[in-house]
Amino acid sequence: MLSFISFSQPTDANHYGSTRHHPDVEHDSLMDLDDDLGGSRLTCPGEFITSSQTFMRGHGTYVDQDEVIASVAGTIERVNKLVTVRAIRSRYNPEVGDLVVGRITEVQPRRWKVDAHSRQDAILMLSSVNLPGGVQRRKLESDELQMRNFFEEGDLLVAEVQAFFSDGAMSLHTRSLKYGKLRNGQLIIVPPILVRRLKSHFISLPCGVDLILGLNGYIWVSKHVKDIDQGEQGLDAEAVYSNKNDDIDDATRMAISRVSNIIRVLADYFVPLTDMLLLEAYEWVIEQEGDTKDILQEDMSDALVAAISARA
């Protein structure tokens, strides 16, 4: 029922002894960037990268006494003379065309503010949503008055990044039947860097579970719905902005929990998520016949990650 564990202790008393150096003692070779371009090199904050005489500093670096120094932990990237460090853990950096999952934080005149795990709240204009029933017309004043019927505070939605405002905030749109309000499931949050760009971010697993992998690290795990692309006209007009869940049977609920736990474990071990990987992980978990909550146990999750990386 209730189990206590310990915080992990450094196992070795001389844990740091072998790796600690004074910066001056460290091997003195000036980093030859051309050598390292093939493989990605990791930096620590404060690590010397190269001389500022020959290179320009980009994001994630600063210059101190003619040296370009990393300010974040991440991978070094170089474009001609520009050196940047891409942070491993950061907020989501939006790009136009990205699929994101967000949560409404505020309703404002003719627009919604959306939390999308970015540095600023995203904005969803009233003019960039579909009206229920798919009618195409200009938005009227009466639509403005009933904005909360479309989305209200706390609602989750899937959308696409449409453009950027001058201050860098992203503008979203949901003008496709694939996009819109989310229901019938639960949200998992992972570091954004773990979601790779895929052919499709709408994944449906054979266990009756749909996944929406938002590039901002928000992942929606829900019950499988009939393919929307097939019968566009047959879609229930009111269902787009509905707050009511469908009937979900216990097996599906179980599967949703299981998939969520798998994603949590993979994120915990910092494994980038792809559709194939999730599918294999799910099959592995089914083979083990364990309880859903056991996936989060350390030995089980160790085994899961080991099995996945062996297959990949």
Binding site: L2, F4, S257
Partner: protein, 323 residues
Amino acid sequence: MSSLSKAEKSYIQSSLLSKPPLRADGRALYDFRAVALETGVAPLANGSARINIGRNAHDGGGGTEILAAVKLEVETVADGEGVDGGRVVGTVSCSPAAYPHLPSGALDDLQHDLTSVLHDTVSYLEKKSWLLNLDVIVLSDDGNVCDALFMAARAALWDTKVPRTRSVEYQAKKAGNNAEGNRDIEMDEEGKSGFDTRITKKVTDFELPDYWDEGEILDGRNIWPICVTLNLLPPVFFLDAALQEESSIPLRLHLMFSLPPSEKPRLQTFRLLGPSGVDVPLIKSLIKEGEVHARSIWTALDAKLKDEDIRRNQKARDRFLHR
């Protein structure tokens, strides 16, 4: 992440009410997430503990993390500050990093709320002979703060060592009195001065015979209460709600139990939070069931604390050997 959409709320609620009940991460209703605990984390405090509920097993991120520390302070009873017999002051502060969505005013309210719960519950006991500052910091919140708060507080108080004291009395010579037998050994060796204007002829103070790390454990170590939160979604309830579950239920019942092994169980405080209501017979049965769960938390926590004591003694011995 305080607000959830209606669809999410109803998904969580209907999962809980289904047969058998399901939770987001597959736990049963009365299961806790793994609780990590360590005592003696703050070297300058008299007792301290760190607790984390539901952290990731691998990289150690996430979860509700709480740090509790006990600092003893000496007070003078005469100037109105101190109370004879000692007092306990509990304070909870919430790190803004734990609640990035809350404005500072709301954070203050939350701090005040948690402080009043903790303070009112622990200071009732009055077992101390010092001013005992119990400071608790909420470093991150992933649900079930209240239970974690009391576990951390109990662990820190369990860990607290009170320095042994010996009272000392200084006595000035009475002018013109040569009676040798009356003198204290540590008497002020002042010459007879005609200008001695001190009114008090007697000064009392104390000294610490011990070196700093030693001391006695706090009296009444066994009676510090723990909290068990029953998250009610009639007709069921569940324990250790995650943040999302917490915001989708109508009612919460905090029960603070003190369960010393030899005495009768004591219900120190209980409070009911949320917009809806419950009737008295239900509360009675909930308290009964809560006691059962509280007891299992209590036993597990005690066992863990004893383990920690052993581990730290072992560590100290090792360090001494390798010196």
